[in-house]
């Protein structure tokens, strides 16, 4: 259970020694109660208090990681229900389901699709994060050999091994234990054996129980068996069940600090209708899923889901932004064109992409507008003629170029006269409104 600041205070040394960086023990206790710092900051606290406080101040949803290396997937640690309260931390992972009964060529093409799913969007590399191998054959040897084959073909892709047979589980997990897969699933009838496999190989365990009552009891049982890294499946399969169970789980964990449901959630949303499946995945992204198991990874679908996940998991207080400077595209000469835009990541990457498409080398002056788009920053008074003029002068670009022409976004055409006034000797040219007009525009000038 969560402890109040006063309850925590009672367990501290009460010397107000300030070593934790806070003026008093009480101030430190208050920060701890809000989970803003770790108990480790106080060097003098007793071991027993540390243990109690450590548990109470742990994130309400346990951090669990699977996969190894750069592509490992972090889950959990969320503390809120709504993104406007605090940035959602660990984006939902997409896992493609592969049956161990599929033909070799089907398996290969699916693995290939996941391995090549990475797309750059607004400066982030986004991909299908994992593969779930389903023991549809019910044959332990078959399962093990398919798991091995997939791991050999794509050694970096995190795996979820799905079987309810402890023998199949043991064989498959053992074969790829160093890749830290998730073993899914323990249920009422195989709990001890599955917990044993997970414990022996130090992997996270996927646990299944129908309904939240049973699920809460079941995670306690598994914890009692010595496994503490879990992902939970409440049996929710329809959209209604998923939104309701996921919401209740998130509420119980974050608002009531109900530890038995304080684990990441896995949702199975496979549908024959891929449009419907895409919508179910959107539900998982927005409503608290940590792993979303899907049956197909068409490129258009990946792109749309990546974009949504990026939107939902972005920081609502601080727009994604890039550094203010003069960026060089290609190898510009002193005669190459100079364009200006704002430092909102989305704006920058769209303009960058389109300017690159033109194949015309140029300079892109990116101005710090506190991460606001062109029109927003103009409306907010951060992308004005005098600020633009000041930025151009301070940037030193005048020493790099032989001309004095600045190309501005079409949406702020009305700034052209006043920029020319503030930058004597310069000529301002109004570019297209949408960045996708840039290739034609730049080529026509080259």
């Amino acid at each position: 259970m969560a402890l109040s600041g006063v309850e925590i205070f009672k367990m501290l040394p009460k010397t107000n020694c300030k070593k934790c960086g806070h003026p008093t023990c009480l101030a430190f206790a208050m920060k701890l109660a809000q989970r803003q710092i770790s108990i480790d900051a106080c060097p003098d606290v007793s071991e027993s208090a540390k243990q109690i406080l450590g548990e109470a101040s742990a994130p309400p949803i346990r951090p669990v990681t699977f996969g190894a290396g750069d592509k490992a997937v972090k889950m959990g640690e969320e503390t809120v229900l709504f993104r406007h309260d605090k940035k959602f931390l660990n984006p939902a992972a997409f896992a493609l389901e592969i049956m161990d009964t599929a033909t070799d060529s089907e398996i290969n093409s699916k693995v290939e699709a996941v391995a090549t799913s990475e797309i750059d969007r607004v400066g982030q590399k986004l991909r299908i994060d994992a593969i779930l191998v389903e023991n549809a054959s019910k044959d332990a040897a078959k399962f093990e050999s398919v798991v091995k084959a997939i791991a050999a073909k794509a050694p970096e892709i995190p795996l979820i091994l799905s079987t309810t047979d402890p023998n199949a589980a043991e064989a498959a997990v053992k074969a790829v234990a160093d890749k830290k897969p998730i073993l899914y699933g323990a249920n009422e009838s195989n709990a001890e054996a599955m917990a044993n496999v997970a414990k022996t190989h130090k992997v996270a365990l996927g646990v299944y129980a129908k309904g939240l009552d049973a699920l809460a009891a079941f995670t306690e049982k598994i914890k009692g068996l010595g496994v503490s890294d879990m992902v939970m499946d409440s049996g929710a399969r329809t959209a209604k069940e998923i939104i309701e169970d996921n919401t209740l789980i998130r509420r119980a964990a974050t608002k009531k600090t109900f530890k038995p449901l304080g684990y990441p959630v896995i949702n199975f949303i496979q549908r024959d209708n891929t449009m419907l499946e895409t919508l179910l995945a959107a539900l998982g992204i927005t409503k608290y899923s940590s792993i979303i198991v899907i049956s197909s990874v068409e490129r258009w679908k990946n792109l749309a889901l990546f974009a949504l996940r990026q939107n939902i998991y972005t920081d609502p207080q601080v727009p994604m932004q890039v550094e203010q400077k003069i960026y060089k595209l290609g190898e510009p000469t002193p005669e190459s064109p100079l364009l200006i835009t704002t430092n909102f990541s989305l704006t920058y990457f769209i303009v960058l992409g389109e300017a690159e498409n033109s194949k015309v080398p140029c300079r892109l002056a990116v101005m710090d507008t506190e991460g606001l788009s062109v029109l927003t920053s103009w409306a907010a008074g951060k992308f004005t003629a005098s600020k633009i003029a000041q930025f151009i002068k301070d940037s030193g670009v005048e020493n790099e170029i032989s001309h004095r022409e600045l190309i501005i976004p079409g949406y702020v055409a009305l700034l052209s006269g006043s920029i020319e006034e503030k930058l004597p000797g310069w000529k301002v040219t109004v570019g297209p409104r949408e960045a996708n007009g840039l290739p034609v525009f730049l080529k026509a000038r080259a």
């Binding site: 895409t278 889901l305 939107n311």
Partner: protein, 312 residues
């Protein structure tokens, strides 16, 4: 430690809005966050209206323009097609031709179009201006009068032009969309101004300003969530209006609905991508709190309706 279902009970609820006369459609009315039936009563499904225009959709990208080939040269045929062939539950007529940069057609022209469309269909009609604040202040009153007593929704009233539009919606017995710029306080403020003119707060629909997936969706999403929470937890009567997501016009401006696969092989099929872009944008707003959506592509609408079936 046994599990206690962490239910919420709210002091407020969303107003229910009913539109149309022959065929009627309802939305809103719920007393919980979207689809959480354990917290309160689910009154209505979200309503999806098909968007049509008074002029041909030359500015729509091919992905959605070609779906309406043969009917979109004339708003009456287009409206009938949506109602009869696509099963539209409501139709949103955008009077884009009245925009000074378009055909600059007159308020009288707009009124005639409204009359013609109303005569041709029995489902409820939403009448939207061209989003030119000055021109809308002239066009929408004429349109509202042409649709007198048909229980339409007129939109959109903005801070710059709300007075004449509110008066016209009131005089002709319509519902009204109030749109502000992506800010919960601006939205609240506009609703206060409108109700101070005597407009019934239960006849209003709030448009907090839409955006597209990948292009500002996060802002609209959070403003909607915050408005919905304010309605329920604070019982704030200026936040209890149903929310509109006018998604089509934002979605079909994005590159993702237009760039051919040949240019961007990593983006996959253009056809499917465009449908997915609209559908996901709409679904996110619905999950955030929108009870009313205006959409374009029949496949996006169809998939979303299936999704709603599963959510109800």
């Amino acid at each position: 430690m046994s599990f206690v279902v962490p239910k919420e009970s709210y002091s407020g609820k969303v107003y229910e809005v009913s539109i149309g006369t022959e065929k009627v459609a309802n939305f809103g009315g719920e007393s919980m966050l979207p689809f959480l039936s354990f917290d309160g009563a689910v009154k209505n499904r979200p309503l999806i209206a098909y968007e049509i225009q008074d002029i041909p959709p030359d500015d729509w990208p091919d992905t959605v323009k070609k779906v309406y080939e043969g009917v979109s040269s004339n708003p009456v045929d287009w409206a009938k097609h949506c109602q009869d062939k696509l099963g539209a539950k409501a139709i949103a007529l955008r009077l884009l031709g009245t925009h000074p940069d378009r055909l600059n057609t007159s308020p009288e022209d707009a009124a005639k179009t409204v009359k013609d469309v109303l005569a041709a269909v029995s489902v409820p009609l939403i009448i939207l201006g061209s989003n030119n604040a000055e021109k809308d202040a002239m066009v929408l009153p004429a349109a509202a009068e042409a649709a007198k007593d048909k229980n339409c929704i007129i939109g959109k009233a903005q801070e710059a032009n709300y007075k004449t539009i509110v008066a016209a919606a009131m005089a002709n017995n319509h519902k009204l969309i109030a749109m502000s710029d992506l800010d919960i306080n601006l939205s609240k403020q506009l609703n206060i101004l409108i109700t101070q003119m005597g407009f019934d707060k239960e006849r209003l629909v709030t448009d907090p300003m839409c955006s597209a997936l990948g292009y500002g969706l996060d802002y609209t999403y959070s403003v909607m969530e915050r408005i919905r929470l304010a309605a329920l937890t604070q019982n704030d009567t200026t936040m209890q209006q149903p929310l509109l997501g006018d998604v089509g016009m934002y979605v079909y401006k994005t590159k993702e609905t237009q760039a051919p696969e040949a240019d961007l092989p990593l983006w996959g099929s253009l056809e499917e991508r465009a449908v997915a872009w609209e559908m996901l944008t709409a679904s996110a707003f619905m999950i955030a709190g929108a009870e009313f959506l205006i959409m374009r592509h029949p496949r996006a609408v169809e998939a979303l309706e299936k999704f709603i079936d599963e959510l109800m």
